[in-house]
Symmetry: C2
Subunit: 202 residues, 2 copies
DNA sequence: CTGGTAACTTACTCTCGGGTCACTTAACCG
DNA sequence: CGGTTAAGTGACCCGAGAGTAAGTTACCAG
């Protein structure tokens, strides 16, 4: 009989519990943003209480940083690998999308942490998030430069704008995907390929 | 000598002060989101105190609704007019963008209120914002349908995805624009026309 | 079976921000 | 002028959520 005890150890190792809390935190932070998310709610989702959360992560910022680093590291790594493989400029967007969809198929809120505008403007979180964004922007800028120059567009400000719009496109695709849990990474990739082919002739 | 008095009337009519507060509120809500924005800060930006803000708008929700309605009404009206004028499907995106840029040239944060994810999930604000989004989504869906069917893409789910990505594109263009106050609406429109022409051959 | 430690909780404190009360000053009208 | 009203404030209340102190239970080594 596994009746859940109200008090005392429940026998779950710290490492495993921490992983649960990071997953729940990522979803809450991704859904409501840093300022809108509640530590008590995150603990409740996992079935524990706030003090344990604080014992393991120290503070709201500590938990957020743990979530952010997990998301940011996986994301930058995946994109870096894809970009390093090279290929035709107009094939890169789809390849990058495929990598992102595959990486985050079961963790769709993670991407949002990098783009959370409700984090405090100063501090560790802002610095870490800005760093991840800078790295991703570098890739986006590289891709945009290759794509636009291959089309005869050379204005560096245009390139910046395209790079930023690209991250926004990823953002909306992921938001749309979050609302459709039945669509898996492969279906999502196929959909994007079909649309880009039809709309842009890529 | 116009020394600012600490107490007593400063001689500004209610209507004018309300307008100032709505402008300041729109910027703060747009920047930090509903949950991240502070009423005291909004009052401070205008040079008054919280009680006056509450006397005029009743609550945080009241102020937010005032900002939201101003933004939403202007936006839906502008887009409706543009869409009603008709034209080639692949010319519509640029026309709509031009309308949005012109309408919100001096009020760039307004768009963000419609897409604020930090508002409480229930209540007047959520309902009003959902209603504006629904109206805009209808236009986006209409445009996406025309565009995709003209390219031989008929999957209704694809169309939904494209419509949502389109609103995300507008979102990122406006974010980019907010960071570049020197770029006016005409320059922004010209940039988009150039990029779309180069990238998609539209 | 016993002592130590890791996994937890109950029941707090404290700060910040939404919201309010009672009051003060200026403008306007007769 | 004097009285009314609109514009405005300082100082407060209160609830929610971040963060904490001290205790409870289970597991494990000897």
């Amino acid at each position: 009989m596994t009746e859940s005890r109200a008090v005392g150890t429940k026998g779950m190792p710290r490492e495993e519990r921490e992983a649960q809390l990071v997953v729940a935190g990522t979803e809450e932070f991704g859904r409501a943003g840093y300022s809108g998310a509640s530590m008590a709610e995150i603990a409740r989702r996992v079935g524990v209480t706030k003090p344990l959360l604080y014992q393991y992560f120290g503070s709201k910022d500590g938990l957020y940083l743990a979530c952010l680093h997990r998301a940011g590291d996986r994301l930058t790594e995946g994109v870096a690998t894809t970009m390093a493989a090279g290929g035709e400029p107009d094939q890169m967007p789809l390849k990058v999308l495929a990598a992102i969809f595959t990486t985050f198929d079961h963790d769709r809120y993670a991407w949002r942490l990098l783009r959370d505008t409700t984090v405090p403007a100063r501090g560790d979180i802002a610095a870490a998030a800005a760093d991840y964004r800078r790295r991703l922007d570098t890739f986006a800028l590289l891709g945009a430069t290759q794509l636009l120059t291959s089309r005869g567009l050379a204005d560096p400000v245009d390139i910046e704008a395209v790079a930023q719009v690209w991250t926004g496109v990823v953002d909306s695709l992921i938001s749309w995907w979050i609302d459709r849990p039945d669509e898996d990474a492969a279906a999502m990739t196929a959909r994007c390929a079909r649309i880009m082919g039809g709309l842009f002739g890529w």
